[in-house]
Symmetry: C2
Subunit: 661 residues, 2 copies
């Protein structure tokens, strides 16, 4: 085992695996896995419940009915290529499903899910070639040769997801006899042989295997998996892959990873690669690479990220735009890019400890990941626009959308990477809540939760977190055990939470301290006693937010946020269901006063008249934009919707950024 | 012959063909062809000279070296499909070259070009199948079956361009024995047979053949070509083609043409289809369809057109965005879409006479068509962004760009529709300058030109236009012949030209009249005498232009125009070559005073400082956009560049819309 941290259940035994997606051998913060943190309810608990009860079944059902899982049966029967269905990367969705199921089994020990999991693993394993090769699209007579299309073939990408599934399984059910880890190892051994130092000097067009190999190396102790990940990262950026319409930036083969200044190209690929590069840098102690990634993260966050945390402005190549190129109406902001960004941020958080990483994770969780699935967990956004100009057409509940950028959630997509990606993220979310270091516990995300762990020196920690966050701003952390010596409880104060306060109460409820907490990290160091309570008050009142003046697309606009949630104006909430394109705020940004009542946030919004189309550009003072006059001077008070909840009341138009008139 | 208008050279004989791309049998305005209007110099004359001297050769050279023309030789030898090169629509570029060469021969009678033209026609003709079928990509063993891929195969699209080449040839060299018209007729006959009323009930994914068949019908007098065009237009919009990722809107198969409210989907396809629909409506006297197209044009101009006249906001599907979705940094604004828009506008202008159509043509000519080719006519913009955020990389002068949206002009593209499209447009541009009606002449575009024609009633008209437009705003129209009775000379007053004046001077130079001319059309009706001069003064001083408040992407910005030219700020003109992303205007829109000296327009522009990236969204009054402070309060006076001239001084950044600070 690659971790040196003991866990709660077996402090005296050899260290058991931490049931978390990322477990670096050394890091500033030690991840707490599913055995140590359990989300018990609230905003995320409900989403995890729906994920377990509905999404996993929904995904598996589609994997069967679309033929993507049966592809493995055809492979086992030697019947391919005839009858193969789905895109070249369809295999990966089965692996993402397996990863999601593994985490969920780790959370719930559901025997029915365990049986299903084993049967899917068996079908996957039956399709593996004797030498370890595993892919339903390549390598057979009538198919492309193995590794013949590294730009688009996704073979290594698919294996990356296989490895992540195996890691999830081994971390949650170590030594399980289902065979998944062996399948992964055989495939990984083949990859190391074929792409090793004296093998094919290339890599996959879609990064993913880098972070997967690094973690598989951590789980198995195989140094060559880590070395292969390192090799894949180092090879990138030297124009090895073919040039394509969108340039080699698309698959991050234009600039070596350590020389890049910001994430660029395909937003999922860029973030997966960056996540793998952090793993490689941490494992190798490569501080130069880590420093470069830290700077890339900062510039990407500061200049290439939507207010929702969403990343990727381009529909065409699902790619980042240039700095400040963030048009809300063309926000692609793919759900998977949000997930990939969380993976990158989380690895940097473990390595460096800065609360800013957890801030971006929170923003992305609430406004990208939570936006994708409908409340029933059976339909999803793939892209997450910030401005919907025309009402969408509801998706066929039995159908498969050929489009990523539909304006209403769809049950499945021809490219259906997002639904199982959401599923694996929600099923493993407990592992992103808190970490430990030698001196204590860090709370990064706020949810009702039980935290039970043991510090490096053997001190047992037991905390219960109670909160209605983000509906309310109070987070109450109850300490369940006496501590022999002082330890530190750290809480993230979000970047938006100016005016937060942190209180400590003793077992009798008497205040020990009550202090202002600045955005960043607030810490209480104390020889805690059972019954002590640390109470954080985050000001979640609605805020009026203005954009950097260099983001051209939203100049003259404001957005409204409340706590970690970005709010939006949806046409169904406007008088007469008016198009949001006709909405304009009638006050100055500094005079806007969003109100909170009836469980919603309300804002005074004017509705412009409609006119016949004329030439829309005019000399100063001339008639351009005659329709810009606001109908009612004061406008009407209309309710906003949490961005993650939009599109749930039928076809509508929606905008996050509201123009000042 | 389908026209009833006699032409200058043979008023007493049977009506000769009008040497123009569009010659409706009836229309409000009668086009004047190459035999009647000759551009003699100036802005467009220079571009026509370069087009004839360099671009035609450049295009033909690439058609040879890329193998696209040799595909026809392989077809004739029976050697296809092996060795075929280029995309499925490569044939069309040869036809566009032939059309361009036909117009150029019509202008210049260059014997060398005539010989080249004939040799290319012979190679094309040799590839035609006995039944008239002509396409190098389909129909042979090892290729797709004929008409088996109407969504993407482009067979009918290619034939459309063949027909337009044949029309150009027949109008400029009637009865030439080169065989092109016969090739076209054989192919058109096959199309009518295969896709006629009882044939395949479908149409081409890429419209083009509609307008081409209509015109071929006009040239040949074959009613069934017109009827086939009508059928193709009527069949569209009933979801006949397969659904695709971008929806059937992409190829205008979502809504019947007469029910559409604005152009939508792929911008070239939409405009080509609309142009063909105008032809069909005019030929059939279908006023309902014509009215619908007029309204579609108005809404498209008013809500889906960039300030340059460019159309199409989406890179992904080369498509129109929704109303007011016009982000400058993601302006696709394909050169071919500009040309297609001119085709649509020109047909409406002939049908309806409204100066607004010619306004949009002028804007698109100066700011899209003129922008594409470099001064040497050997490299081209495919897409025409309005905001270049990062300096581009110069294209390999011998290479072929895989990208449509490069930020510097490229000599050729893997999809190279634009260069030959520019060539055919410039070679036929004389035919877009002026028209006639029963009572006189209408000048739509201002260029030094000779106009010689005969009105319906036999009155001969001879005019010489002298102007340095758009460098200067004076247009001087000299009348060369006495008129027995009054006739009307009409001049378009551009929509931006508030304050224009129109003077009439007699042969002695004495003023006859001097009046203000409102934007729209100004007319002089007079029994003109030889020596009379009509002088138009257009105020071409730089103007500050503000956008409609509903175009989110440019809120808080202004653009500068001068005459018909949109100006831009290019980094090479900023102090130290600073990125235009750091530029901001330091005055209010109403206080901006562009100055004109040293042959350029100058504006006071501030340059913002640079900062470390932070979270770019902040609460009102907080630190968001701290870098927005302008370095020098007043800024420096910097020269602007005509948009059509940008990108000619090496890698740079550029923006048309300038933010107010």
């Amino acid at each position: 085992m690659s971790t040196t941290f003991p866990v709660l259940s077996s402090p005296a035994l050899a260290p058991a695996p931490v049931a978390a997606p990322v477990v670096p051998p050394q890091s500033r913060l030690r991840p707490l896995g599913l055995g140590e943190v359990r989300i018990t309810g609230g905003f995320w608990g409900e989403r995890q419940r729906v994920n377990a009860a509905h999404t996993l079944d929904h995904v598996l059902g589609r994997l069967e009915s679309e033929g993507w899982l049966p592809n493995f049966d055809l492979a086992a029967e030697g019947a391919l290529p005839r009858g193969r269905r789905g895109r070249e990367f369809a295999d990966s969705e089965i692996y993402k499903y397996l990863e999601a199921a593994a985490w969920e089994i780790g959370r719930s020990s559901d025997p029915s899910l365990e049986a299903t999991f084993r049967s899917v693993v068996a079908r996957v394993g039956a399709a593996q070639e004797p030498d370890g090769y595993l892919n339903t699209e390549f390598g057979r007579p009538g198919q492309g040769e193995r590794w013949s299309d590294l730009e688009w073939g996704h073979e290594l990408y698919c294996l990356g997801h296989l490895f992540q599934a195996a890691v999830a399984r081994e971390r949650t059910r170590p030594g399980a006899d289902d065979g998944l880890l062996e399948i992964a190892r055989r495939a990984a051994d083949l990859v190391c042989e074929v792409f090793g130092p004296s093998g094919i000097p290339a890599f996959c067009g879609h990064p993913e295997i880098e972070t997967a190999l690094a973690e598989l190396g951590r789980v198995t102790g195989e140094a060559r998996y880590r070395e292969q990940a390192e090799l894949f990262v180092a090879r990138r950026g030297h124009e090895t892959l073919r040039d394509i319409e969108w340039g080699r930036t698309y698959f991050q083969d234009d600039v070596p990873v350590r020389d890049a200044e910001a994430l660029a190209g395909h937003a999922v690929r860029a973030n997966y690669l960056a996540a793998g590069a952090v793993d490689v840098a941490v494992d190798a102690g490569d501080d130069e690479l880590l420093g470069s990634l830290r700077r890339q993260w900062a510039r990407t966050r500061g200049r290439r990220t939507y207010i929702t945390g969403g990343q990727g402005s381009h529909h065409q190549d699902e790619a980042f735009g240039d700095d400040f190129e963030l048009p809300p109406d063309r926000a692609y902001s793919e759900t998977c890019a949000g997930i990939a960004s969380i993976m990158f941020s989380w690895r940097l958080l473990l390595a460096e400890g800065d609360a800013a990483y957890a801030d971006l994770i929170e923003r992305t969780l609430y406004n990208v990941v939570a936006t994708s699935p409908a409340a029933d967990g059976r339909s999803f956004f793939y892209a997450n626009t910030l401005h919907q100009r025309v009402p969408g057409i509801p998706a066929d509940p039995e159908g498969t959308s050929p489009r990523a950028s539909s304006s209403l959630r769809a049950p499945w997509f021809e490219v259906s990477c997002c639904p199982p990606n959401v599923a694996r993220t929600l099923a493993s979310l407990d592992a992103y809540v808190a970490t430990a270091d030698a001196d204590g516990i860090q709370l990064h995300q706020y949810a009702p939760a039980e935290i039970r762990t043991t510090l490096e020196d053997g001190r047992e920690i037991s905390l219960d977190v109670q909160t209605a966050y983000p509906a309310a701003g109070t987070v109450r952390v109850a300490v369940n055990e006496d501590a022999a010596s002082p330890w530190t409880l750290s809480l993230r104060i979000p970047e938006w939470a100016a005016g937060a306060r942190l209180r400590v109460l003793d077992g009798a409820g008497a205040p020990v301290s009550d202090e202002a907490a600045e955005p960043g990290t607030a810490s209480v160091r104390r020889a805690f006693r059972a019954g002590d309570v640390v109470e954080l008050d985050l000001p979640i009142a609605p805020r009026v937010v203005v954009p950097d003046g260099r983001i051209d697309a939203v100049r003259g606009c404001v957005a409204i946020e409340r706590g970690p949630e970005v709010l939006a104006l949806e046409s169904v909430d406007l008088p007469g269901g008016a198009d949001v394109g006709r909405a304009a705020l009638t006050a100055d940004a500094t005079e806007l006063t969003p109100e909170e009542h009836d469980g919603r946030v309300w804002l005074r919004v004017g509705v412009r008249g409609e006119d016949a189309p004329g030439w829309p550009y005019g000399s100063t003072g001339a008639a351009a934009g005659t329709a810009a006059g606001v109908e009612a001077e004061a406008g009407a008070l209309v309710p906003l919707v949490a961005y993650h909840d939009w599109g749930n009341r039928g076809p509508s138009t929606m905008r996050v950024w509201l123009p000042l008139s």
